[in-house]
């Protein structure tokens, strides 16, 4: 009797419940917390982000405030990081520089992500000629050395912060497209996608609501590593005179301005913004590597 009763009850589908998902998230957080290098990187990111946000509150001077009476001072009590050739406080400029660098990184990665992911997804999902054309285009973009291509793009649009963001963003597109392509190719054959298609879910919804969330892990890793790359490339562009224009405080531009003073021994003009760039990139690289180790043990970076 009892047996017939159970058969009448609709079979409980073994679905990943909210509990399972929460448990997964907990394991993920615990594994990431245990990765000391990743946490160190996360620490750098948090510190720079906070400093960037509260720069106007903590910076002792304005970033473009010139004071010719106290120019080229070595680090001292009034100017912890010294002053530059216009008497501007290097510490304040480094703090404000964090704003530009992190903001540039975010926008550039957002551009790469928002263009690359749909392109890769569409190419894999529809395949055929569209897919071929898209992926071939991505291969061609990858055939250019990244810094050289971003220089060419920035030079074509004209120097400036926006063009640096666009240039770095465009150069990052193919990586995201290829990742999303690979993920979509394998996910689209899964049963749950077939099922969604069978009940008439629109392609757009399948691609962005069903496939994208499952492809997010490697994309997240790429986005984190891409932040480091974007900060480095954007500051290189500024160093070469293709990014932010003076007097705006930006790390790469500050190093370019301090360049001629290094031979005469004024090391602080170059050293501090450089440490800013290096620690910010280190932060994103460490966190990115850590995320990759946790999210995909097969891709472990030689641990």
């Amino acid at each position: 009797m009892s047996e017939t009763a159970t058969t009448l009850v609709p079979n409980p589908v073994p679905q990943p419940s909210a509990q399972v998902a929460a448990a997964k998230r907990q394991t993920f957080t615990r594994l990431l917390m245990k990765n000391r290098l990743a946490m160190l990187g996360f620490g750098f990111i948090i510190i720079w982000t906070i400093l960037a946000i509260i720069a106007p509150l903590v910076a002792p001077y304005g970033p473009t405030l010139t004071d010719t009476a106290s120019k080229l001072q070595a680090p001292n009590a009034a100017h912890w990081f010294g002053t530059d050739n216009f008497g501007r406080d290097v510490l304040s400029r480094v703090l404000y520089g964090a704003r530009i660098s992190i903001w540039t990184g975010l926008i550039a990665v957002a551009i790469s992500f928002c263009i690359g992911v749909p392109l890769g997804g569409i190419a894999a999902y529809y395949g055929g000629r569209i897919g071929n054309v898209i992926m071939r285009l991505m291969d061609i973009l990858l055939a250019f050395p990244s810094l050289v291509l971003s220089m060419a793009i920035a030079a074509s649009i004209g120097a400036g912060l926006t063009s640096a963001m666009i240039a770095v963003g465009v150069v990052g597109i193919p990586e995201f497209a290829r990742l999303m392509y690979g993920q979509t190719i394998s996910l689209k054959e899964k049963e749950y996608i077939e099922a969604s298609r069978a009940i008439g879910v629109k392609d757009k919804v399948i691609l962005f609501r069903h496939i994208l969330p499952n492809a997010l892990a490697p994309l997240l890793v790429q986005a984190t590593l891409g932040m480091g790359f974007a900060i480095l490339t954007a500051s290189s562009l500024s160093f070469l005179g293709l990014g932010v224009k003076p007097p705006i405080a930006e790390w790469g531009a500050m190093i370019a301005e301090g360049r001629e003073y290094i031979i005469s021994g004024q090391w602080w003009l170059v050293t501090f913004p450089g440490l800013g760039i290096a620690t910010a990139i280190l932060g994103f690289n460490l966190l990115g590597d850590g995320l990759r180790d946790v999210l995909d043990p097969r891709l472990r970076s030689g641990k």
Partner: protein, 325 residues
């Protein structure tokens, strides 16, 4: 290969046509009157439809015509020919340094996993990958020139009071050796060493890391255990059995690094006033002279593709199992 070369040319062409300024105005100067500008525009073919412009662009490319560099007054091709040897010398020497350091370091790190040497090499490869090249170069100049006085002034390839060696290969180091001019050899080595180390750090870090992880993977495989069980000396196991197999992924990374080196050369040459193509590109950026920038973009993409093709071919030589139809 051919479609991607065509793609590279198309993209460079597109980049050269979305310039902010009108090239004709730029050539004539801001004050030129309309008829002069109109004439220049007709001479340059800018009044033609876009696809005709593209065809003449491609035809010119085949003739080796990369345009005029207004800020030097020469054709870009001439300037490139004069300056490429310096860049090649710098890049080759950087690759050499990177490989000579990174591969042994990677092997040691893998064979003595978790030892002090391993930890040190990993810290260095972490740092090497995130230190901006332009900052590192300036710090090198500060430490080795300004403070210690060990290196010559960061100006050019050879001391100003020495004659460059007779031009045979265009590489000062090799030319001075061939001609037996040891004074020139010493001077050019002293000038080359800092920029080359500076340019090589990023590559060194990545190659060492790749070498370590692929070596670790190979060492864990059965055939290595078999080789050891047969009593082969550990040195031979590593050098003859493991190394060859671990080299392939490392070689891929090295080929990809070539693109990074071309970009890095622009920055390194600028910092060390190295008279190569990279410094020339920076000068062009500052002079708002676009033809050299576009030409460099094109040439470096072509070179980069060729190098990676070469790397693919070397696979077949290292690993006979890989064959190309």
């Amino acid at each position: 290969m051919i479609p991607s070369l065509l793609g590279i040319v198309i993209i460079t062409f597109i980049l050269s046509r979305v310039l902010p300024g009108d090239p004709a105005v730029m050539m004539a100067g801001e004050q030129a009157d309309d008829t002069v500008i109109e004439n220049i525009r007709r001479d340059m073919g800018l009044d033609q439809p876009l696809y005709m412009q593209f065809f003449s662009y491609v035809i010119k490319l085949f003739q080796g015509d990369l345009g005029m560099a207004y800020h030097t007054g020469h054709t870009v091709a001439e300037d490139f020919a004069n300056r490429f040897p310096a860049t090649i010398e710098l890049t080759l020497f950087s690759i050499l340094i990177a490989v000579l350091v990174a591969i042994p370091v990677g092997i040691i790190a893998a064979t003595r996993k978790e030892s002090i040497a391993d930890h040190i090499s990993r810290v260095f490869s972490l740092i090497g990958a995130c230190v901006p090249i332009f900052w590192l170069g300036l710090m090198f100049i500060y430490i080795f020139y300004s403070i210690l006085g060990w290196s010559p002034a960061p100006m050019g390839r050879i001391s100003g009071d020495l004659n460059p060696p007779t031009d045979i290969t265009g590489l000062y180091l090799i030319d001075s050796l061939i001609t037996g001019d040891f004074l020139a050899f010493r001077s050019s080595l002293a000038h080359l060493i800092l920029p080359a180390i500076c340019l090589s750090t990023g590559t060194m870090a990545i190659v060492a890391r790749m070498m370590r992880s692929s070596m670790l993977e190979v060492i864990g495989q059965d055939f290595i255990r078999t080789a050891r069980a047969k009593g082969i000396h550990e040195f031979l196991v590593i050098s003859r059995h493991a190394l060859v197999n671990a080299l392939i992924p490392t070689l891929t990374v090295l080929g990809l690094q070539f693109g990074y080196l071309l970009g890095g050369a622009v920055i390194t040459e600028t910092i060390f006033s190295w008279p190569g193509v990279g410094g020339y590109v920076t000068d062009s950026i500052l002079a708002a002279d676009y033809a050299p920038i576009q030409a460099f973009t094109l040439v470096s993409a072509l070179l980069y593709s060729l190098i990676n093709l070469l790397v693919d071919l070397i696979y077949g030589w290292i690993d006979p199992r890989i064959r190309y139809e």
